[in-house]
Symmetry: C2
Subunit: 404 residues, 2 copies
Amino acid sequence: MTGSVVGARTQEQMRQRNLSEVLRRVHKDGAVSRAALGRRMGLNRSTIMDLTAELAAAGLVREGVPIGRGRAGRPSIVVMPEQGTLYGLAFDVAVDRLLAARVGLGGQVLDRREAVRPRAGVDLEDVVGVLATFGRELVDRAGPGALCVGVGASYCGLIRRADGTVRYGPHLGWVDQAFGAELAAGLGLGLPVEVGNEAHLGAIAEHVRGAGRDVDNLIYLHGDVGVGGGIIVGGKLLDGDGGYGCELGHMLVNPFDGRPCLCGSRGCLEAEVGEEALLDYAGRSGELVGRDGIRAVVALAGTGDARARDALDRVGDWLGVGVVNLINLFNPALVVFGGMLRDVYPGAASRVRARIDAHVLPVSRERVRLAVTALGDDTTLAGAAELAFANLLDNPLDTLATLR
Amino acid sequence: MTGSVVGARTQEQMRQRNLSEVLRRVHKDGAVSRAALGRRMGLNRSTIMDLTAELAAAGLVREGVPIGRGRAGRPSIVVMPEQGTLYGLAFDVAVDRLLAARVGLGGQVLDRREAVRPRAGVDLEDVVGVLATFGRELVDRAGPGALCVGVGASYCGLIRRADGTVRYGPHLGWVDQAFGAELAAGLGLGLPVEVGNEAHLGAIAEHVRGAGRDVDNLIYLHGDVGVGGGIIVGGKLLDGDGGYGCELGHMLVNPFDGRPCLCGSRGCLEAEVGEEALLDYAGRSGELVGRDGIRAVVALAGTGDARARDALDRVGDWLGVGVVNLINLFNPALVVFGGMLRDVYPGAASRVRARIDAHVLPVSRERVRLAVTALGDDTTLAGAAELAFANLLDNPLDTLATLR
């Protein structure tokens, strides 16, 4: 009865799923032996050989003997992503810069462009103009043998995933702007642009190739002017019913006396720990600004400036309240700080930890680690690259057939 | 190449997965036609017929023609769960009572026992003694042809899922008590007892057969003395890295002036909206107590008692802060109130909604519904029954073979 119950359609689905899983692992882990792949996927040797051979024939992976392995006996064949010819375009509209990169399958940045972005008064046309020019240059320089397999973009705002519309971009004042569609048109590659919220993408990047490679439950807090979040639950991004989940910057931590927030509310986490709060507490509002300003306050605190020290402590207290709530809610294995919080966290860690000790339930405190991003300021860009590769990884052969 | 790539092992896995999926749908939806099953699962007619025939031959489902359908043409065969012979035992250690029930496959309560539980000073032996006696009576009355397929228990505390240990039960003062193992020994059925946190199980029950049947992203808030939570994300319970997620009762909503909480912290959601807060604000602390006390305050507010009205408003304000944060974090389609919050929410709804209007981001406010539980006070018991059925639903034929 087995054969008839499975049915031809589901057999084919299973084969596609296995191909997808092999390519995903090679993309994530880099060079990996066939033996290790088989072990991790619970598949036998001949099945794995068939799968990797099929991916190699399609030009998605390369098989080879690892160089410099002096061990005796037959070496296990290693499978590597075809990073030289298959690439994704990744874009990042961050609070202070515009970024574009050509990223090879496997996640390596092969080429990149960057522009400083004014903090306000930048409309859709300006942003798309710069990014599309960057993108076309990157494609031109890739050479005729290379193939763009997808385009992803990170944006610091609320995104409707279905069509890449920016529903709300507080810093640029954008409301319902067709960013994804316009960038796709500007690039003229005949490919859609998948757009994601920067902190969601940061969480994905940390999970795939950053500080959270080995954990399936993590929280990523991304600071810039505001604070965004991405939450990985059981290995998947929590994106909520409409894709607008993880708005942890708008968690009310100080509901009745809080500082005003850009969202119109008061006492949101981002209002209490964002750039403005830190500079204001430090008495440097107006004088310092942006990422450099934040780094200056952190440096001042390190040299004994009392107001700067006090500012970091206050931000640490509120950040601690937010982190306590997130740990009690999600029982994560890891909390990662990125963006400007990468600079702030080390100086605020003792306050954050004191709150955790005081308020997190012991069962959830047992295992949680806190860390800064392992990908530096490229976290969100790396997440955009993951969006670019998503279709190829989900459906390797069909996606490639459509592209060629 | 298809056959070799799939491999015998994965074909068998696929068949088991399909059998599991059919049984799960029949368990959830009750009588369902083979045509509807095929449509929903994307399988053709003959594959579905094979699957349901195999489940029927094993005694897991029954197939039949629906009664009273007057329509012309060949009626579609309907598949029903074998609820008469296959049952689970479900237990509930709630804050004020001990419950036991025999629940048929498909979710119907076939028989039940209930005892009032003192609020404190009850040790593991007492609780297990009462529940095990109830359980043995329920098994005896089930008759010789019936088969117990699993045992689940709901407990109002933090549970280590792996072995059913109560890590922390604040109301009974339990720490690291081997509840699951002791109850299993007391029942003497040779079956393990799966134990879950009451609010986690409430969330599962609301998702499977309650107010959230049709949504995959929901939050369940369960009030008793404290407040617990269960969160379903993408159709699955968020249980965190150690199984201790969703402790939303210990979200800090009032971090610097808050009421003391049983957990040792201050200003936790449960300290601000729990039974004690409501009775205290109403000026009825010491006079009224428990669920009846809460209902009395709600009734007083309804008849114009100013202090009772004020108490409901204050609780509504803090409950609103908690709900705002949950909606901003999870972007759920539904928030369900159960336990004593089932009584409190209707009288506090306007305050909760005012907070949502003031503080939730528009994109997340667009779709969220708020409701009280559709399963009354049996929500947590129904969740325990789902634990009892979990193994059978995951692996129908193997589980049954082990049991018989």
